[in-house]
């Protein structure tokens, strides 16, 4: 149906619009995004696929912010070394952020770019939104 684009092709494509998936604060201040499917994406991507992506992201962020033995241990160790340990080691949160970046890149390459969409890593937007760039689908004819 729609012509598939690669990530390189998207560079030349014009941006039709951007959709923003806002934060979901119903569980408190933890980082969680709304899984509600935006109307603008209806024609572009499968609802389930999208929700799965957002849910995976939410799970990854939950893992980053999880309070548990590991995070307490890291916190205590850091305190004892006057936080100098973070000069050589990266925090658990940072490790998970790297994982998230990788996941988003992989999702873009495999699923979103072929459909003319691009996910922006929320960390680039201060963890406020998941920005989805919708590119003009030239193959169908300019809008």
């Amino acid at each position: 149906m729609a012509e598939t684009h690669s990530l390189q092709d998207l560079r030349q494509a014009a941006v039709a619009s951007k959709v923003f998936v806002q934060r979901d604060y119903s569980s408190g201040t933890i980082c969680k995004f709304q899984t509600k499917f935006p109307a603008e994406l209806e024609s572009r991507i499968d609802k389930q696929q999208f929700e799965e992506t957002v849910q995976t992201l939410n799970n990854l962020y939950a893992e980053a912010e999880k309070l548990g033995g590991r995070s307490y241990l890291e916190g205590c160790l850091a305190c004892l070394t006057a936080y100098t340990i973070f000069l050589c080691m990266e925090t658990h949160y940072e490790k998970v952020l790297k994982k998230i970046a990788k996941y988003i890149q992989e999702q873009n390459e495999k699923i979103y770019a072929p459909l003319g969409l691009l996910l922006t890593d929320p960390i680039e937007r201060g963890l406020r939104v998941v920005e989805i760039i919708i590119f003009e689908d030239r193959s169908i004819g300019s809008r």
């Binding site: 941006v15 951007k18 408190g28 680039e124 937007r125 201060g126």
Partner: protein, 492 residues
């Protein structure tokens, strides 16, 4: 600490440097701008040191006073009291004192220099999207219709929490976040702005602040106790009051400083221990957000239930990274001020490897140029509504606004003529001083805008024949300012 996107940025960086070197001769026409780091274009009122690694508030005078007091008192203690105590009692005293002192200084510096959890401001598209959503919720407005204040309600753990819209940052503030009027930033889990530390205290540096005041209270008690011990021991040995005059002066100074510090610091530590164990911020406590006096079913939805978990979460929980990328490079393709025609010369084609970074640039440049050209007023509205201080748009809005405001309360960075923006901003800028041991500046609650401001906001916020509101002469400068504003906003 933007580790997720470090590689693309590094690659962009490499390409940018390449381009820069390849054309060493800058002609006036190309006007190649030096590549800036994001901290250099940061919209808030902060000071940065060490090329963006350290970050503080604008007024740092009191912080230097704190440093001087701690250093001088501790220095006098180690120089004049410790030799006597080490030889007559135990060398463990200076050792423990030393450890305490190092810990205090470490925590102070960490609290002062780290990012408290500043939320970056919304990009123009985000702001536009939110505006659309707000308009959709509020419905069309007629003349004289007062739109409700911009709030969203959220149910958190059974408690209804109101999320307020920040006019400066163009975002709906997350729960517990607040806008610091001194630093002009929204800060996550905003506790207070501490002038003694020279920074806001928020999510990322609360634990350092708490450990600082806790260890400082131990240090002051320690020094006080052992100075008194020293005096007593000496006077026992050599007879009453036969201490050298010089030593006397130092001792008096130490005792005085410690005595007054103890009352305030120990009290503050106690207060913050209470706050931490109930998982409240100073802001919430002052406002009585979760006090049972407000209502029967009022409780703190963020508390974990028991004080141990609350304390552990605050002190040993995961430390989130900074959301503002201070040391990243400003993407050169982001809109340049209207005066520079070919300002995008810097790096139009570093799209080779880093698809995120490169596409962003390509996309941004195309989009902004198109938008700036076709719809200047859409972007100038955020400038007017609240970005006055941040974006320094100095144009004067014509007729409609000047007829509205009866009195123009002054802003810290008041801009004459921006009357509507001024009123909306001024509501936020009334500072609340709490009666506390230290003066903590707490960002004010965003009370509903005064009626005079609202019709203005209505005019501006609802794209209703906006062209009629601006005289053509100011439109060009508005456009220029809006694009300049876009540079700042998009550089986030």
């Amino acid at each position: 600490m933007h580790l997720g996107v470090e590689e693309p940025i590094r690659e962009c960086q490499y390409n940018q440097i390449c381009t820069h070197n390849s054309s060493p001769m800058d002609t006036p026409h190309t006007k190649k701008k030096k590549i800036k780091r994001k901290w250099q274009v940061f919209p808030g009122r902060n000071k940065f040191y060490c090329n963006g690694r350290l970050m503080m508030a604008k007024q740092t005078g009191v912080f230097y006073l704190t440093m001087v007091l701690i250093l001088v008192t501790s220095g006098l203690f180690f120089a004049f009291d410790c030799p006597f105590l080490a030889s007559n009692l135990t060398p463990a005293i200076p050792a423990i004192g030393g450890v305490l002192f190092v810990f205090v200084m470490g925590m102070l510096l960490r609290a002062s220099f780290s990012d408290p959890g500043v939320l970056p401001r919304a990009t123009p598209e985000e702001a536009a999207d939110i505006e659309r959503q707000i308009d959709a919720t509020n419905g069309p407005s007629g003349p004289g219709y007062r739109p409700p204040p911009r709030t969203r309600e959220v149910l958190i753990n059974g408690q209804t929490v109101k999320l307020k819209y920040c006019f400066t940052c163009k975002i709906f503030r997350p729960p517990r976040a607040s806008h610091c009027s001194l630093c002009d930033n929204c800060v996550e889990r905003f506790d207070h702005h501490c002038p003694w530390v020279g920074n806001c205290v928020g999510r990322r540096n609360y634990r350092f602040f708490y450990l600082f005041i806790l260890s400082l209270s131990f240090l002051t008690i320690f020094i006080f106790a052992f100075v008194i011990t020293h005096v007593i021991l000496r006077s026992n040995r050599t007879g009453f009051l036969s201490i050298s005059v010089f030593l006397d002066g130092c001792t008096v100074l130490e005792v005085v400083v410690c005595f007054f510090s103890i009352w305030s610091i120990v009290g503050l530590s106690g207060f913050h221990t209470y706050l931490m164990s109930s998982n409240q911020t100073t802001n919430e406590d002052i406002k009585g957000s979760w006090s049972s006096k407000r209502g029967k079913g009022n409780y703190n939805p963020y508390s974990y239930g028991n004080f141990i978990t609350n304390c552990c979460a605050a002190l040993c929980g995961p430390l989130p990274p900074s959301l503002i990328d201070r040391r990243g490079f400003v993407q050169p393709d982001t809109p340049q001020p209207a005066a520079q025609t070919n300002g995008t010369g810097a790096c139009p084609s570093n799209q080779v490897q880093s698809h995120m970074c490169a596409q962003d640039q390509c996309i941004q440049s195309t989009k902004f140029v198109l938008q700036a050209a076709t719809n200047p007023l859409l972007h100038s509205q955020p400038v007017i509504l609240g970005g006055g201080a941040a974006l320094q748009a100095k144009t004067s809005l014509g007729g409609p606004c000047s007829t509205l405001g009866p009195s123009q309360p002054s802003l810290p960075s008041s801009i004459p003529g921006l009357s509507c923006g001024g009123e909306l901003m001024a509501v936020r800028d009334s500072e609340i001083h709490c009666h506390h041991h230290h003066q903590h500046f707490i960002s004010p609650e965003e009370t509903p805008s005064p009626p005079a401001a609202l019709p203005c906001a209505t005019h501006l916020g609802h794209h209703v024949h906006p062209a009629q509101l601006f005289d053509p002469a100011s439109q060009d400068s508005l456009h220029e300012d809006s694009v300049r504003g876009l540079v700042k906003l998009s550089s986030v």
